[in-house]
């Protein structure tokens, strides 16, 4: 792979947002292992169009997200496709850590005491980033939790698989339309670590290769073919 167009290591317990252009590939790497990256997706031209986890799961008849899967908006379009993945299972139903969850698991450690070592939570991280675009908790739907495998038993009980992501695990998202992404690197809300996990995530941006009709994600299922058709309609007149 060529050198990234831009590269940034999101420090632990941090948040970030940016607009990503169609045709960009974002490679996320869990540098130390055991990380979690919460991420939400919006259409920057119409913030009312946003990632829809239920549509994403039911369109592809899956509970886990991995290579070949696409992340759908509530308008039947595809924000991005997972074109490569070492992990095999990213989850999208558990939401975020909160002030209460962090306090219950790891006690209270505020910014006054800890400065940049504070125990930030995912919910507030998202609120901070959303506010920059005039959005708030009303706009916070579900997020993807990269590098986190949440399993379900026959009775529906959920649990976070321990240490599922070794150091260097990466997942690559290819953006199929312009997308506002909102991210945080706070611990997964179901983490059972004894100390607050502080894990950085490397974000590398590349120019994606041309998408041909034999593309893995397009051909993953008939639903994805139609999802890509919806994107084509959306981009009509703006070039492929």
């Amino acid at each position: 792979m060529t050198n990234p167009v831009y590269s940034y290591t999101l420090p632990p317990a941090s948040h970030w947002s940016l607009k990503v252009r169609k045709g960009t590939l974002l490679k996320l790497t869990d540098i130390e292992g055991g990380g979690n990256l919460g991420i939400m997706f919006y259409n920057p031209e119409n913030l009312l169009e946003r990632y829809n986890a239920p549509d994403t799961l039911k369109c592809q008849h899956t509970f886990k997200l991995t290579t070949g899967n696409c992340l759908y908006s509530d308008m039947g379009r595809i924000f991005c496709s997972i074109v490569a993945d070492d992990h095999g299972w990213h989850e999208t139903v558990s939401g975020n850590s909160t002030v209460e969850i962090i306090k219950e698991k790891w006690g209270e450690l505020n910014y006054q005491q800890a400065r940049n070592e504070w125990q930030q939570n995912g919910f507030n991280s998202f609120l901070v980033e959303l506010a920059k675009y005039g959005m708030n908790e009303r706009d916070m739907v579900s997020n993807l939790n990269c590098f986190s495998k949440v399993e379900v038993d026959r009775k529906g009980n959920i649990s976070l698989a321990a240490s599922s992501s070794p150091s260097g695990t990466s997942v690559s998202l290819r953006f199929e339309m312009d997308t506002l992404i909102v991210m945080h690197s706070c611990p997964h809300p179901l983490s059972t670590e004894s100390v607050y996990p502080r894990k950085p995530v490397l974000c590398e941006f590349f120019n994606a290769k041309t998408v041909y009709d034999n593309d893995l994600c397009i051909n993953h299922c008939n639903e994805n073919k139609r999802g890509f058709d919806n994107n084509r309609l959306y981009h009509m007149g703006m070039g492929r």
Binding site: D55, K58, T62, F63, V93, T98, S142, G156, N157, E223
Partner: protein, 213 residues
């Protein structure tokens, strides 16, 4: 978990039949009990709840699933808001399991799931959009149309990470009953879906019954 209700229909304060394809937007007061009855079986009542006094607070599938540690809803499930407060508790359930992962049908997702030509067909999200438009005074917009519960829907997850829409485990007369833990707005789209075999391509009415004043 199957749990029968102790409430008698004769004592109900009101009862409404909601045809498939219609919506119901109604305020329910803390302490009131709401029953949704699947009159003809295998229907889906796609439901969203809000705090009636602050609609920024609403049902959150993620918070509910995470805090109860289970993806299915049944008697005993507390339906949590995005602020982790209980909106309602399921107090009786003769169906045994309800889905909160599958979301609602939309014209756009129908196009992806079934056929691009299905975009014109009526869908739950359209009913919700109409509810938002016809009840402007509540200040709700599309951004408030978030995750929902599909009462009577069976969407099993496999340990391998698969998800499917299965034939219903509901039947004529099965019901789910909820106790309001705060004043809530309930927004139901009684699903008009004509493409999914799990309702036999035959959407049917549900009955909404309320106890308490």
């Amino acid at each position: 978990m199957i749990k029968e209700s102790t409430l008698m229909s004769d004592n109900a304060s009101e009862s409404t039949t909601l045809p498939a394809g219609d919506y119901l937007l109604k305020k329910i007061l803390k302490g009131q009990t709401l029953r949704i009855t699947d009159l003809e079986g295998n229907q889906a009542a796609d439901t969203i709840f809000y705090n009636a006094n602050n609609t920024a607070e609403r049902y959150s599938a993620m918070d509910t699933i995470r805090q109860q540690g289970n993806v299915y809803l049944t008697a005993g499930s507390r339906l949590l808001s995005n602020f982790r407060n209980p909106l309602l508790t399921i107090v009786a359930d003769t169906c045994g399991r309800h889905d909160t992962l599958g979301g609602a049908c939309a014209t756009e997702s129908n196009a992806v799931r079934y056929d691009l030509e299905k975009r014109c067909m009526h869908a739950c999200r359209d009913s919700w959009m109409l509810a938002v438009a016809e009840n402007e005074a509540l200040g709700l917009t599309k951004r408030d149309i978030t995750h929902n519960i599909n009462f009577f829907m069976n969407v099993p997850i496999t340990p391998e990470g698969g998800l499917s829409f299965e034939d219903g485990i509901s039947a004529p007369g099965k019901y789910v009953e909820l106790l309001a833990e705060m004043d809530v707005l309930i927004l139901i789209s009684n699903c008009p879906q004509l493409n999914n075999p799990c309702n036999g391509y035959n959407p049917t009415p549900v009955e909404i019954t309320l106890w308490g004043s």
